[in-house]
Symmetry: D2
């Protein structure tokens, strides 16, 4: 694996940074070569700077790496993943792009910028067409691309197969896993035997990001998809996997068979190109009446597929169904890595 | 308390039966005098026939009562609560009504019958007008009245204050407590760190009972409310308290202030008459951004109020908000007892 | 209730402070009149200074009280409960005692001091004999009394009835509730579907406090009980109630009947005097093979009794059994209030 | 993989049977060729006879196999794993052994028989010496070997490295995962936010099986290890992984360094021979103060290692520490498969 592409991780000591490290273990194209975090951690070996929060022990290939300051210095790889907290991501990501790096970010900061792609490779790989404009208007030799919020990924992956039927209205209620809130995240006192019915800033993201993702891109700008989305977001005591109940109204009501066929036949560029992290079937329809379930299905397909089920008529809109996907894999680290694979396959790295 | 009304409980050994016994402890009007269950239990003292599943120890006032067969025998009180399983309730409830008993049932069997009231005393006490027709057409000296399914009670209590604005469409997603499924009910293997996204027969109930409850009654029949309801029902690992996200479209969009005022000022006949189990405020709007929560709020007001919160605009329908209520109290035993109190205050016992 | 004794609470805004406020609702002897907390909160009404973390809403009788600085000022009641964090309790508690206040503390800071009683009123009310020495040696017109660590209370309450048989060795493993770690306390990520097998400083407390509590007091000092205690402490996902498996070796092996009789007949001064918070039976032996259980039994007896069960022979020591008690009531706020009731009944307030 | 050994599974449709199927996926030596279950299932394809309870979907290599009656018929493989319920295992296992099969059983029925090995390959592979006696006395061309109860495996794996120091007394408290009780097993109502402090028949097994496992075998019988074991068994809401607090007294107190070295250097025959399911390090000592934890560590080493930690002095016995292992892998299906690998490496298949 001597010619793997070296990658860096910004925000490497946090939970999302750890998820990047975990997801990249054994990656056939990318090799973690450079880690950065806050000044407090800089200069220390990763093992010393970090309390490993994920399962098992810290992977051996990062424990000895020295943590750098979050600055674009010589030696930093061209490709850097950003796992930084939103409070600091804007300036640092821009500094890296200005220094020529390709920043593949999981942070929310640049998602809705008019010259930054909000990328789901199965859905809108053509949004990369905006990069020349981004570079020109920002004067960056590098670039920033982003992936959506974790709950948005699950929703848009479930919606994408149905886009040809003309989606007009979407009502979604989420039951989101606690791993989405980082560490320490929620207090056990809030979550034990409880529903915590509020996630700050989550509903606005779910109500605006999908339109950009399912919308168009001309190279000179994005056109939002005209659908209306309403979200009610809740945290439940699940470890990994966001579950979403979804009701949809279409331009015209499609048949059940049409919808099922759309879910089952959905493929995208990552599947066509065989990108390493692409699941063979990005959307999997389960026929059991009580599935998908987060605990049982979240780790299938390496956490990269979205599972749907319980398609049935909606007495208010047209159809309703259930969707579930892995929030820290398909909804965060895995999403960003798939974005980087797409960039690589496009010759952009 | 020598002149309290004696009551019987059908299905007394099951979980719902135990909830009736628990809720009736210290009741100022009603005294448990007679218990019945399956033939297997008949003839034994309650303490011997029953494994007590609720918190603490079995109440002393029932442990020595002998369990009867589920037949209308001399000595059985006029008022009997039915906590029977749906698989046996139809015939037994009818036999008691035919023998002159007032059957206040929590079972689903007679809820949608055209001559049986589906009663929520704050909402439709006038539905008792159907009883003469029931008696006449069935030839019963007694009667059957029912309360709704647990998730329906929470929904309709939250909708009732808004009825004057002309409800047209309702989309609801539930996150329901495990106590709703009896004992043993769900396997711990299904519920631990999971969402179980299916509850058999629950969605059809939620999509049809509310129209009867919020509808009219002429004495000659019921008129269903014309609203459309769509429900997506899930089980989460909460002990007591069903949480529901609700989106509504009205004939015309009311203002936020109008809705808040409607929630806050809502009262019904039970409040007017001061029925013993009636909460002073049947619907309580909580202003904190993350409330109501089932674990923290479910036991307030003796479990008899429904809590709402998070009222905000819905980009698809008009308004959305959150509701939560105690599924085994307001949604089962407490609901039936309040029905019986209403009957008593009407002179029907 | 006009002549109730006014009490103050130090550390009133924290979780333990809130538990004091909650436990004192409707107390027949004590009335909350004065609250203190950190400088950051001082000067604000309690409702503004505090996010209420316990069930339901903040009690109305404290929401309007102004929070004071943690200093012994004129107007502060003679009796103050200390719910302060260990990091600040030492100096502040001493300042109050020096200013003439009776400080009834839940903090660990003074528990093991040679002139401070570590009080469990059913077990060692005679330890109050140390107070003259405390006052003399410290030069305090006031005094400090303490209650044990939450897991110690459960253990010592279960051991006290057996003391006459000559306890020599005690091995205890705890499964402790999350409410014991304050707010936010444990991360939900640590506790969900997990055992967290470490509680900082807990085992040393459990291995030293019981000997002081079950030991003697001459007025000139304490004599530790000679038993050896070994503890293994774990956090499990339970809301309230510490469960403990206990094995004991005695000077001579008593019979099962002797031990059962000892549990059942155990009473102390609080029961004799009918102190308001004293449970009629401080130790309750449950005969079911699977009890006590924290979720089902913790709130019985107002949370003030300790429940034991499963007494059986130990192949290594003599006997083993199970104990469970409410960690924030009997193990914290309720323990301190009972201490204050004892002081009051002794004429020490 | 054409020359893999064909294996059968008795009790294939139950939870333990499913765990065998799951664990054997991709096994380099063994190939599932034959499934049996109760008469009710016999004759149906496995996919039709079975509701798959484990994560994800039923493996494709078994879904089409026809389920047989639990009888030793021609065509059944020589090696059969028994995942049968204790209520039926005795006769069926004996019938298979009598018909010449090697029965590798996870059932408790024959564990304590004087001519049946209770095998943990790292600890007592020499117990296979009993097989000639078994065959002779029973008149079986085949044989039965067993693995211990799940909680016993974790305990004995943690004790085995310490055996050279002369173990005399062991006190253990378990916090066991719910997957150990099958499906549906425990009610969610019993486990949610609770400790269930009783597991039927579990303590007697833990107090007798270890002495056989750590004892000797002469070929003419077993000699029990003389240590005394006392167990207190509890169920907690963990999915997989039994956690155990252990205190030990030795003939003479060893040093901490000796014990740590013993844990770290422990290896057995499976490691020596490189059996496919043998973990490189069967016992792994974790140095973090709060580890092992079941949720985080249970799946490491393919679930086949036992993790220990928190070694510290015990004020009552000599030393205490923590152990944790996967109850359905190392404690059931994986244990049996490792037994079969040992038999195969001994030329006994």
């Amino acid at each position: 694996m001597a010619d793997r592409i070296q990658v860096g991780i910004l925000g490497a000591t946090g939970m999302v940074g750890q998820q990047f490290i975990s997801f990249l273990q054994g990656h056939p194209w990318f090799e973690i070569a450079w880690l950065a975090a806050s000044d407090r951690s800089a200069g220390k070996p990763y093992a010393e700077a970090t309390t490993w929060r994920l399962d098992g022990e810290m992977p051996g290939n990062v424990s000895g790496l020295v943590v750098h300051e979050s600055k674009p210095v010589p030696g930093a790889p061209k490709l850097v993943f950003s796992a930084m907290d939103a409070s600091v991501a804007t300036e640092i990501e821009q500094a890296f792009a200005a220094a020529g790096h390709i920043v593949v970010s999981n942070s929310r900061n640049h998602r809705m910028e008019p010259d930054v792609p909000l990328l789901v490779p199965e859905i809108n790989p053509d949004h990369l067409k905006i990069l020349p404009l981004q570079r020109k208007s920002r004067g960056w030799p590098g670039a920033i691309v982003t992936n959506p919020n974790c709950s948005t990924v699950v929703l848009t992956m479930a919606l994408a197969p149905l886009k040809p039927f003309g989606i007009e209205k979407v009502l979604v209620t989420t039951m989101q896993a606690i791993s989405g809130s980082g560490y320490p995240g929620h207090s056990a006192f809030d979550m034990t035997a409880n529903v915590y019915p509020f996630i700050r800033n989550e509903e606005p993201k779910m109500e605006s990001e999908p339109q950009k993702i399912l919308g168009g891109c001309s190279g000179e700008g994005f056109t939002a998809h005209p659908m209306k989305v309403s979200a009610a977001c809740n945290r439940v005591e699940v470890l990994d996997g966001h579950t979403e109940t979804i009701s949809i109204e279409f331009r015209e009501k499609p048949s059940e068979a049409d919808l099922l066929e759309a879910f089952r036949s959905f493929r995208g560029l990552p599947q066509e190109r065989g990108l390493p992290s692409a699941p063979p079937h990005p959307v999997i329809y389960m026929t059991q009446p009580d599935r998908p379930q987060p605990r049982r299905d979240v780790n299938r397909e390496n956490g990269m597929a979205v599972f749907v089920g319980r398609l049935r008529e909606c007495p208010v809109l047209h159809w309703k169904f259930l969707a579930m996907g892995h929030n820290t894999v398909r909804g965060a680290a895995g999403a960003a890595v798939l974005n980087a694979e797409l960039l690589s396959s496009e010759g952009l790295l």
